[in-house]
């Protein structure tokens, strides 16, 4: 442990010129070869099969020719410096990008061998299968019960009130929130603490029994205690769901994921087992990042 830290701090002790030099000599851009990802981007029998994905915001190319497989019941973490395209890529997986007018997606994206971007594809059904949790907790300004029940209701998942009650209870239980809120299901969700809200959002997402849960920096607005609870939850969920999590905390990635993907300026630089990425990254950009030379 001390070894790494000394590396970092020794770095900090370098004279300024040398530090600056390093970036200038080797501009990050030049090192990446487009479409080439080191590590293990592919999987057999994947849940998602993504090939040559490119995403444009207007003219700007935010995702540059990325190919990746995401396996069943795996927890994959996306890491990378700010603005590298993690969120953009994640949002392709359930077509949340559709609502951004200027956003165009190219390439082949398949969920269980069906094209996600097929124009005939029903987005509503897709999103029911691929749930999402956002960076900032965003509960509806309704009661706790109604928040969780909303998805099952619009998808007709419950025939009776009691069915619905069951779904709500089990979702809240899975999200580890049941004991805290079971006495005030009618209270407004906006009165909860940030961590509770985020867990509520997770409960809401899993209430429609999705196959995949996408999480975009789910803990970045939470304090350490709340973060711990959410991470705990992710670990539990990983048994039955495929989870894709974007995080800016390498430690978090290390704690929760099986595989980690490192993004850099729109490229997918490296994907590998989490242990592998953090112990012996193959690509030098990955190494620079996880050793803290930037980010």
């Amino acid at each position: 442990m001390n070894t790494l830290n000394s590396t970092i701090t020794s770095e900090a002790n370098l004279p300024e010129e040398t530090r600056a030099q390093k970036y200038d000599d080797k501009p990050a851009e030049t090192v990446i070869e487009e479409g080439r990802t080191v590590g293990k981007p592919l999987a057999s029998d994947p849940k998602f099969k993504l090939r040559n994905v490119e995403v444009f915001y207007g003219e700007a190319r935010a995702i540059k020719n990325i190919s990746l497989d995401i396996g069943r019941n795996e927890v994959i973490a996306f890491i990378g410096p700010s603005g590298c395209g993690k969120s953009t890529f994640l949002r392709c997986l359930n077509r949340m990008n559709d609502s951004i007018d200027i956003c165009r997606v190219k390439g082949s994206l398949q969920l269980d061998d069906q094209d996600i971007y097929d124009p005939k594809r029903d987005v509503v059904e897709l999103r029911a299968r691929v749930g999402m949790v956002f960076q900032k907790p965003n509960p509806f300004p309704k009661s706790i019960y109604d928040n969780v029940a909303y998805g099952p209701r619009i998808h007709g998942l419950a025939n009776r009130k009691s069915d619905l009650d069951d779904i709500v209870e089990s979702s809240l239980r899975k999200a580890g929130l049941w004991d805290e809120v079971k006495d005030r299901l009618d209270a407004s969700a906006t009165g909860m603490s940030g961590g509770q809200q985020q867990r509520l959002c997770i409960a809401r997402a899993i209430a429609v029994s999705p196959e995949v849960v996408l999480m975009d920096e789910p803990c970045s607005a939470l304090d350490p205690i709340a973060t711990a609870k959410v991470e705990e939850l992710i670990a539990e969920l990983s048994a039955s769901y495929t989870i894709v999590i974007v995080t800016h905390s390498m430690q978090q990635a290390a704690r929760v994921s099986n595989r980690t993907a490192y993004f850099h300026l729109g490229h997918l630089v490296e994907v590998n087992d989490t242990t592998k990425v953090f112990t012996s990254p193959e690509h030098e950009l990955t190494e620079s990042y996880i050793t803290g030379r930037f980010g």
Binding site: H155, G156, N159
Partner: protein, 462 residues
């Protein structure tokens, strides 16, 4: 059955259709293992049934109601003996009115010709038949629509799509009302405008410097020329609006700044609605205030300093109008100033700027597009105002740059021309329409410009 009774009945039936379809969709879902196996929620099958039963029926009802009268009228008229047969359309409407007044018991049947009394009887029976038939037809359509929807409650059919598309259509139609209104406005002034330009050359209208409907009031009164130049009207409008804006913009802006930057929360909560009341006071009140208090005061002051002032002046009207439109500027500016991102404010304060410096140099320029919007709204209200101008600035179309003179505005002329002694077919009355058209075009151009400017600004910020 009366349309008034039929309408609720159709709605009730639609609700019934809703209920039935709802139950059926649940029944259909039952053997499949619950409603999750339907393509859409039962609600949507039900809503579709309600829409299908109500909408066609309502359309038929509307059509029937609009043609029923004509048809019955023709039959009744046809039944009249030859000597009573109406010669003209107006006659027809009168005869019909007479018949229906008799039928309604408001006219004594003994006092009208026998044929009319007979027709009244016919009218009664026809009306009864028609409404019976209408009721049967409409109810039939309602039931058929519901029945069709019932048969279409199938698990693989996406009723949600249907319902949402219908709703979208309705929404689109509502958005189109704005366009229809514009078309309506153009339609309601265009014919008279064209006729006006048949009498007065367009160039004279646009570039003439004298406006005097007095001299051309009636063909037999005076046939003088050059009386329809809009330039004095537009300069008058411009001058009064400019004075009003000179009052309202500084007062409104400064109030807004104070309210949003300095005032405490409770002060703001009280003062803002108070200021908004200024816009709610009827303009007649302002008119009296301007004419009886402000205008004489201005004249006295002007005479005191040796200026010649009319007892009606653009200044008086403009000042009072300015007070009236203060809230447009203050409330809207207050909103946009509050909407300026905190980051900009912090950025300036962190450099050691005082609040007023921050306001003047950073927030104000950033809020400018929104403030412009408020000012534009205030300006349009000023352009459209009539009562204050009539009372305080008069009706004399002087081409002058002196705010102490009496002037008049475009809208005032439109109102006086249309509500005063009208002269069909005379250029005078038609001029009102031409003025309306011109004003419409001018505001349209202003708005296109405003949109362009705002767009341009918006690109620059953020």
């Amino acid at each position: 059955m009366q349309t008034a009774n039929l309408l609720p009945l159709v709605l009730v039936l639609a609700v019934v259709a809703y209920g039935l379809a709802y139950m059926r969709s649940r029944a259909v879902a039952e053997p499949l293992g619950g409603i999750r196996n339907l393509k859409s929620l039962p609600f949507y099958y039900a809503a579709r049934a309600a829409l299908w039963s109500a909408i066609p029926a309502l359309i038929v009802l509307a059509l029937w109601a609009s043609f029923e009268g004509k048809v019955i009228q023709n039959v009744v008229m046809g039944s009249l003996p030859a000597d009573l047969a109406p010669q003209s359309e107006g006659q027809a409407s009168l005869t019909l009115s007479q018949i229906s007044n008799v039928a309604a018991g408001k006219l004594d049947p003994a006092l009208v010709p026998e044929g009319i009394a007979g027709a009244a009887g016919l009218l009664d029976s026809l009306r009864a038949q028609s409404s019976q038939f209408k009721a049967i037809l409409v109810l039939l359509i309602t039931v058929l629509g519901a029945a069709f929807a019932w048969t279409r409650v199938m698990p693989h059919i996406n009723a949600r799509e249907n319902v949402e598309r219908t709703l979208r259509g309705i929404f689109f139609f509502c958005a189109a009302v704005a366009i229809l209104t514009t078309i309506g406005i153009v339609f309601s002034v265009i014919f008279e405008t064209v006729r006006f330009f048949g009498k007065v050359p367009i160039s004279e209208f646009l570039f003439g410097t004298s406006w005097s409907p007095q001299t051309a009031l009636r063909a037999d009164q005076v046939g003088s020329d050059g009386a329809f130049g809009v330039i004095p009207l537009f300069t008058g409008t411009l001058m009064i609006s400019a004075i009003a804006l000179l009052v309202a913009v500084p007062i409104g802006l400064l109030s807004a700044v104070y309210l949003s930057e300095y005032a405490t929360r409770p002060v703001r909560a009280v003062v803002k609605p108070l200021l908004e009341m200024l816009a709610g006071v009827p303009t007649v009140v302002y008119g009296f205030f301007a004419a009886l208090t402000v205008a004489p005061f201005i004249r006295d002051v002007a005479e005191l300093i040796g200026l010649e002032a009319s007892s009606q002046s653009a200044l008086a009207a403009g000042l009072v109008m300015g007070i009236m439109i203060i809230p447009f500027v203050s409330s809207l500016s207050d909103d946009v100033i509050n909407a300026v991102p905190r980051a900009l404010r912090d950025g300036s304060l962190a450099l050691g700027a005082t609040q007023s410096e921050t306001m003047k140099n950073v927030i104000f320029p950033a809020a400018l597009p929104g403030i412009m919007g408020g000012i534009l709204l205030a300006a349009s209200r000023a352009i459209g105002e009539t009562m204050i101008v009539v009372m305080a600035a008069g009706l004399a179309a002087n081409l002058t740059g002196n705010p102490l003179d009496s002037v008049t505005t475009v809208t005032v002329q439109i109102v006086t021309l249309l509500t005063g002694d009208q002269e069909f077919d005379s250029a005078k009355t038609l001029a009102a329409f031409a003025l309306g058209m011109l004003l419409f075009i001018v505001t349209l151009i202003l708005n296109v410009f405003a949109l362009k400017i705002v767009r341009k600004y918006r690109e620059q910020y953020d």
